[in-house]
């Protein structure tokens, strides 16, 4: 492929070059271009064209209604519709490339890029409707409107649009000449700031205040905010072009023209030069007051981009931009840069010129730099032939660099990015992005754009190549396919969709299903949902489709309790109880368990009903037993604060309830294997409570109910009611051993040492002396008492330990000697504190004797 040097198209402006490149010839069907309202989306987006009703034109033919047409940047038709709504105050594109149409009355409509009206209509309110809009600015994330009474309204965000009134601009304001907006992304406050040129100054208006600046510079007939939001260009009545900082505190540059009256258009070219369209010329003014002039015929629409400005005229679409450094570096006449040398070397190599080698050698030390610059230049160039030539130069140079010197993937990435850019720029697609614009838009953004334009295949290839998410493309494709296949039966359509979607990781089938449902294709939606991997998306939608059983099944599979409950509640309210219960017991046990857990905490009656139906004896028994305990506690609380016959009767009723409930739980437990003890225990509890009630009425002392069996006996013994105690013992079959333990502990706690000793003297005691000793120690009995019990311990070793523990060391030593326990003796020796005192001496003697005995 032969290539041409771009230098011929370059124009010098100061020390910089600018180039005007034709992007497309516009063969579109737009008649009378000069009288059209034209609105171009940023970053190579679509173009909306509609007749400008503000101009008086001769309308011929039948329909007097204007037609709104949408084209690609290459002039391809994307959609059209007859605009039968009110007259238009403003047009603009959102960041998602939806067209915003603002009527003079403040009605705001949103259209897809295919000209379909989207269900996102809203209004700026009654006040605006009454007054009408005079100026309107639409930026990608919001809009600003100026009403006839000079009130500014702002809407930020298209999702939940809420018109907000900005600060008043003060009384006696003259009608503004023009307005401009600094987008929220570029302001300190994060809210939109509106620039209003009025009288001889500019007002900066936000939600809280309106401040006047630039006094005496006006009237300013046009304002343009730089793409980075930091600078503002103004064009004043006297033909003076000024560049300001965005806060209007400083004039950065100044340029005089000989034109009075408003310019045709004013826009920024990148962030360092300003383009102003006058009657028949386009002036491009550089940062230092240098300028380039182009001829102009007819109307022009300027679209500022990050690195240049696009110019749309009746028959062509051009890009005016500063020549990127990398290109200037190589192609500028007489360049001796390393990259230019490498490029020449490759050219010579291709021509078979042996000097190629010599050239290459001259830059051998800067080869990596030269290669990288060639790659960068290829990326920046718009011409495929030159791109190829530049990449070839890079490949040539790389062959002579070390393997590590040039990034491994730099060439591959550059080639991929160029393929993407060239595909986007092709007239069939019509998205003329430069590499810097693509960077600003991001690959994901470009993919989304392509998808919205229904270039699904290209979008998929692009996403795959760039390694970004492909599922968005597929989901959009599937939705579009469903929309377009109204007449295709479900199973066929499903097969078509599956062929493309199957095996893709993390496909969002739910989104597709939701779309199918919105078109009324319920069963298709259900089968799509079946394939959704994320239960949190799947279950709610299945519920909306009325598929409760399937939703519950999926929820249970997911293990997410929240989803299970969601399905349960929906099902519970939608079905009769018996159906519902049948359904939850047929799914996995998790649903049933969760429902029971819910009932247990909120609706005990329902729980009982469910358990009865399903024969859950275990649950029923616990439920009734819990109820019994709760009633008993309530009765206790009530009895603590009440007297009087009536309440006593009701208390009796409560107690009767308690017994009844316990009996019923005994029955339920009785139905179960392995719960015999619970059943018997519950019955025993009934007799205990009856006995306690009897005791309370007999003694007139309400201090028994609720005590444990042992507690009751203790209470009776404490009150001296030995007969009662015997009765409880007999009734509950409390063993002799247990009873004796209780008595010993009671005597100890009461410090009744005599009583304890008396008990100790009883014959056939069912407990050992250790129990007595423990009671003594726990309550600080005198050593003499304790010693009596210790003396009766069967084993000498234990004796020694216990004696030692209460400090009776002599006895301890004797006992230790008896049990031949040398370790114990040593321990005692330690306690005594050596053999310096008589006891110590005695102990060591004992020890000696013992060891002698052992050795013998």
């Amino acid at each position: 492929m032969s290539w041409q040097s771009p230098v011929g198209d370059w124009d010098a402006c100061g020390d910089r070059f600018y180039e005007k490149t034709e992007l497309y010839q516009l063969g579109w069907e737009v008649s009378d271009f000069d009288n059209q309202r034209v609105c171009c989306a940023r970053e190579g987006g679509p173009i909306a064209v509609v007749r400008d009703e503000r101009r008086i034109v001769l309308v011929t033919g039948g329909n007097t209604r204007p037609v709104l047409k949408i084209f690609t940047s290459a002039g391809g038709v994307m959609g059209a519709l007859v605009w039968d709504k009110g007259s238009i105050a403003g047009l603009g594109w959102t960041s998602a490339n939806e067209l915003v149409v603002v009527e003079v009355t403040g009605e705001v409509h949103m259209l897809s890029m295919h000209g379909k009206i989207l269900p996102k209509q809203f209004s700026l309110g009654q006040e605006v409707a009454n007054e009408g809009i005079t100026h309107c600015i639409i930026y990608p994330t919001g809009l600003v409107a100026l009403s006839a009474s000079h009130t500014l309204w702002s809407v930020s965000g298209w999702e939940d649009p809420r018109p907000q009134r900005l600060a008043p601009m003060g009384k006696g304001i003259t009608p503004p000449h023009c307005i401009a907006a600094i987008e929220p992304a570029h302001t300190l406050s994060g809210c939109v700031e509106v620039l209003v040129a009025t009288g001889d100054h500019v007002l900066i208006v936000d939600a809280d205040s309106a401040q006047a600046h630039a006094h005496g510079q006006g009237p300013l007939l046009a304002l343009a905010v730089a793409p980075n939001g930091s600078f503002v260009a103004s064009f004043s009545e006297g033909g003076r072009l000024l560049v300001w900082t965005a806060d209007f505190t400083k004039v950065l540059s100044e340029f005089e023209t000989d034109v009075t009256g408003p310019p045709k258009a004013l826009a920024w070219c990148g962030t360092d030069s300003v383009v102003v369209c006058l009657e028949d010329t386009v002036l491009m003014v550089g940062p230092y007051g240098d300028c380039v002039q182009y001829e102009l015929e007819g109307a022009v629409h300027l679209v500022p981009e990050v690195d240049g400005v696009r110019m749309v005229t009746a028959d062509r679409h051009e890009l005016l931009r500063r020549v990127p450094d990398a290109l200037q570096d190589i192609f500028s006449t007489g360049s001796t840069s390393v990259a230019a040398t490498l490029f020449d070397a490759r050219k010579m190599f291709d021509e078979g010129n042996a000097k190629a080698d010599e050239k290459l050698r001259s830059i051998v030390h800067s080869l990596p730099e030269a290669v990288m610059n060639c790659i960068a230049a290829a990326g920046a160039d718009m011409d495929p032939a030159r791109q190829a030539a530049l990449l070839k130069a890079a490949v040539y140079g790389r062959a002579f660099c070390g393997a590590e010197a040039v990034g491994k993937l730099a060439l591959r990435d550059a080639a991929m990015s160029l393929r993407v850019l060239n595909a986007l720029r092709s007239p069939e697609v019509g998205v003329p992005l430069t590499n810097r614009q693509l960077e600003a838009l991001t690959v994901e953004g470009a993919v989304q754009r392509l998808v919205a334009m229904h270039h699904h295949f290209l979008a998929l290839k692009m996403a795959t190549a760039a390694g970004t998410r492909t599922d968005v493309v597929l989901v959009h494709w599937a939705c579009a396919k469903i929309t377009a296949s109204q007449d295709v039966p479900d199973d066929k359509l499903m097969a078509v969709l599956e062929a493309k979607l199957k095996g893709r990781q993390g496909m969002q089938y739910a989104a597709i299903a939701a779309h199918a449902r919105s078109l009324g294709r319920t069963s298709l939606a259900a089968s799509l949902l079946d394939r959704e991997p994320r239960a949190s998306e799947q279950v709610p939608l299945l519920l909306n489709l009325g598929e409760e059983a399937r939703a519950l099944g999926k929820a249970v599979d997911s293990g997410d309790p929240d989803l299970v409950y969601l399905a349960l509640f929906k099902m519970y309210s939608a079905r009769p109880l018996s159906d519902f219960l049948a359904a939850i017991s047929s799914t996995k046990p998790l649903a049933r368990s969760l429902f029971l857990a819910y009932c247990a905490k909120t609706e005990p009656e329902l729980l009982e009903e469910v358990l009865k139906v399903q024969g859950g004896h275990e649950g029923l028994a616990s439920l009734r037993f819990k109820e019994a305990l709760a009633t008993a506690a309530a009765a206790k609380a009530a009895s603590a604060g009440t007297v009087g016959a009536r309440t006593i009767r009701s208390l009796d009723l409560m107690q009767a309830d308690v017994l009844k409930l316990i009996e019923r739980s005994a029955d339920s437990w009785g139905q179960l294997r392995d719960y015999g003890l619970q059943s018997k225990g519950a019955q025993e509890m009934v007799s205990l409570r009856k006995l306690q009630s009897d005791l309370e009425s007999e003694t007139g002392n309400a201090c028994f109910l609720g005590l444990s069996a042992v507690g009751t006996v203790r209470q009776l013994l404490r009150l001296g009611n030995v007969r009662g105690a015997a009765r409880v013992r007999a009734e509950l079959k409390i063993s002799d051993r247990r009873f004796t333990w209780l008595k010993i502990r009671m005597l100890g706690a009461a410090k009744d040492w005599e009583g304890l000793e008396a008990l100790g003297r009883e014959k056939k005691l069912p407990v050992g002396m250790d129990v007595f000793i423990a009671a003594c120690k726990a309550h600080g009995a005198p050593p003499a008492t304790t010693a009596k019990f210790i003396a009766r311990l069967p084993e000498a070793r234990e004796k020694a330990e216990e004696y030692a523990a209460i400090g009776m060391l002599t006895e301890a030593a004797n006992a230790a000697a008896q049990s031949k326990d040398t370790d114990m003796l040593s321990a005692i020796q330690g306690m005594v504190g050596g053999s310096s005192n008589p006891l110590g001496a005695a102990v060591s003697q004992l020890k000696d004797r013992l060891s002698a005995g052992v050795s013998r």
Partner: protein, 551 residues
């Protein structure tokens, strides 16, 4: 005493981000309402909130008053905004609904209510609000904190009823939350190349993890380059013995005797109530926490003596300034040392109580498998002596687990005695323990625990508690099953280190899975590459996350 939050970035994984994010969520929740506000805390949240944020931070964001969420009404609230921070549980939703109703009925200044549910808002709670007719009056938000960091290497979900819910109620919610938390951990550090599990709950969690990974699709964290090497999931039901037995390390004993809650122990020291923070930031504690309690006293003594002798040295005239400086630095540890000495004293007093020795002796014979009759008798006598119910229940369950059920001869008698001594209302307790399989009757055959003891070398009575060479020192010669399981999981491929007999005795589902990075087209990566990557990892230190399901 000021509380010291643990330094979370010193451990094997930098966990500080958890606290940072939790603080951010807390501040966001507070700032969501303008002006002064009252913060009502679920007691189960307020406990560990101290680990995440301090009171001044709350004040900075307009909190005038802190209240606890409970059944009783709020009373007169000075601020317009009332913010709740609560676990998403039915009872909490009921309390909050009740509060709103009573406060609204009182009239007076209108209040605005906002509820932040931890770890997420649930259908269940919103359903309750709807049922109670207050849904329209509340703004419901989330406090998305799953793992609570207790130390640089300890995370907890703080779901104390999880075991009961899973074992008894069949409610697997806690397992879902465990999987969710682990998924988030993976999102932070990369996917676990290997997941090993033991027990039914472990399998449930592993399945959930797999599902969540599938749901995340291409967003799922990759295995390659993951900071994590392995996840070991152990179902607590596989080894109930470890928490049933009395802990004998320093940390364990302090917890048993005085109770550590949210990293803080309350004790009485020289007549004063004192709160002491226990985490790895305290160097003394870090060194001693896992030491057998028996060895703590001597070690503290050695440290104190070392300081003392150094102090004597410093008195010598020829000490250099640098040496003095170094000593002064060490002196800073002195109050810390003193506190630990007080703590050991407090623990010793509790240990001296009569039931304690019997308790440890019973446990020992049950775990070692001798003296069964005497052990049963001792348990009975502990009940006669009216030791705390929890002690008795622990021993009964340990008896049941180690013997494959309570011997028939004792089964009814012990339970009857429990009812007689502690009240018949504990019929329910016994029924629940039985239903959960923790307390059952012996059904012939050799108890599996005996086989387990042999196969896993649980019993090492000769372990030196002071200079241990095996974890068996933690229970005085008995190695916890849980730890042997983790050792086996970490030590080789699969559970291969455990022999057939052991696996049979464990009687639990066990598995090993590999997580892989799925390719875009869904084809799996050949397993050889995963294996070689794992082999390559051997050079750097492996990071294994062990999670016990059920506490």
């Amino acid at each position: 005493m000021t509380s010291v939050v643990p330094n979370l970035d010193e451990g094997p994984l930098p966990l500080g981000y958890i606290r940072e994010e939790a603080r951010k969520h807390l501040v966001d929740a507070l700032d969501s309402r303008r002006g002064k506000k009252v913060l009502v805390l679920d007691p189960r949240v307020s406990g560990f909130l101290g680990l995440l944020a301090e009171v001044p931070l709350l004040r900075e964001h307009g909190v005038e008053q802190l209240l606890h969420l409970g059944a009783e009404p709020l009373g007169d609230v000075p601020a317009r905004n009332i913010i709740y921070l609560a676990r998403s549980e039915i009872q909490n939703a009921q309390f909050i609904a009740q509060h709103i109703k009573t406060t609204t009925k009182q009239g007076g200044t209108p209040h605005e209510f906002a509820v932040f549910f931890m770890p997420r808002k649930t259908t269940l709670c919103e359903h309750i609000f709807q049922q109670e007719g207050v849904f329209g009056d509340i703004v419901v938000g989330e406090f998305p904190v799953d793992f609570i960091p207790f130390d640089s290497d300890v995370l907890s979900l703080e779901l104390p009823t999880a075991f009961r819910e899973v074992a008894l109620d069949g409610d697997n919610s806690s397992l879902y939350y465990a999987a969710r938390a682990l998924t988030q951990l993976q999102a932070r550090f990369g996917a676990f190349p290997v997941i090993k599990g033991m027990g039914t709950s472990a399998a449930v969690v592993a399945d959930l993890l797999k599902r969540m990974r599938r749901e995340a699709g291409s967003d799922a964290p990759s295995v390659g380059g993951s900071a994590l090497s392995m996840l070991v999931l152990v179902d607590r039901a596989v080894d109930p013995a470890t928490p049933l037995a009395t802990q004998l390390t320093y940390e364990g004993t302090v917890d048993e005797m005085l109770g550590i809650s949210n990293g803080v122990v309350s004790m009485e020291s020289q007549g004063r109530k004192e709160r002491m923070t226990l985490n790895s930031t305290d160097r003394t504690y870090k060194d001693l926490r896992d030491v057998s309690f028996a060895a703590v006293g001597p070690r503290l003594g050695t440290r104190a003596k070392a300081l003392q002798s150094q102090y004597k040295d410093t008195k010598a005239p020829d000490r250099s300034l640098a040496e003095l400086k170094e000593f002064a630095g060490q002196l800073k540890g002195l109050p810390q040392l003193q506190r630990h000495i007080n703590l050991t004293d407090a623990v010793n007093q509790q240990l001296a109580k009569p039931g304690m020795r019997t308790r440890v002796a019973i446990e020992h014979s049950l775990l070692e498998g001798h003296g069964l009759e005497a052990a049963c008798e001792s348990i009975e006598e502990l009940m006669y002596g009216e030791e705390p119910l929890l002690t008795v229940l622990r021993l009964l369950c340990l008896l049941s687990f180690t013997q494959g059920g309570v011997p028939k001869k004792w089964h009814d008698g012990l339970r009857r005695e429990l009812l007689h001594t502690y009240g018949h209302e504990h019929l329910l307790t016994l029924a629940s323990l039985q239903a959960a399989g923790l307390l059952r009757r012996q059904e012939g055959g050799r108890p599996a625990f005996a086989a387990l003891r042999r196969s896993l070398r649980l019993s090492l009575p000769d372990t030196d508690n002071h200079e241990p060479d095996d974890v068996a020192y933690t229970f005085n010669g008995y190695a916890p099953i849980s730890l042997r399981l983790v050792q086996a999981a970490v030590g080789g491929s699969g559970w291969g280190q455990i022999n057939e007999e052991g696996l049979k005795a464990l009687g639990a589902l066990h598995f090993e899975r590999r997580q892989q990075d799925a390719e875009e087209d869904g084809s799996a990566v050949p397993s050889t590459s995963a294996a070689s990557a794992a082999a390559g990892d051997n050079t750097k230190r492996r990071k294994v996350v062990v999670m016990f399901l059920g506490g």
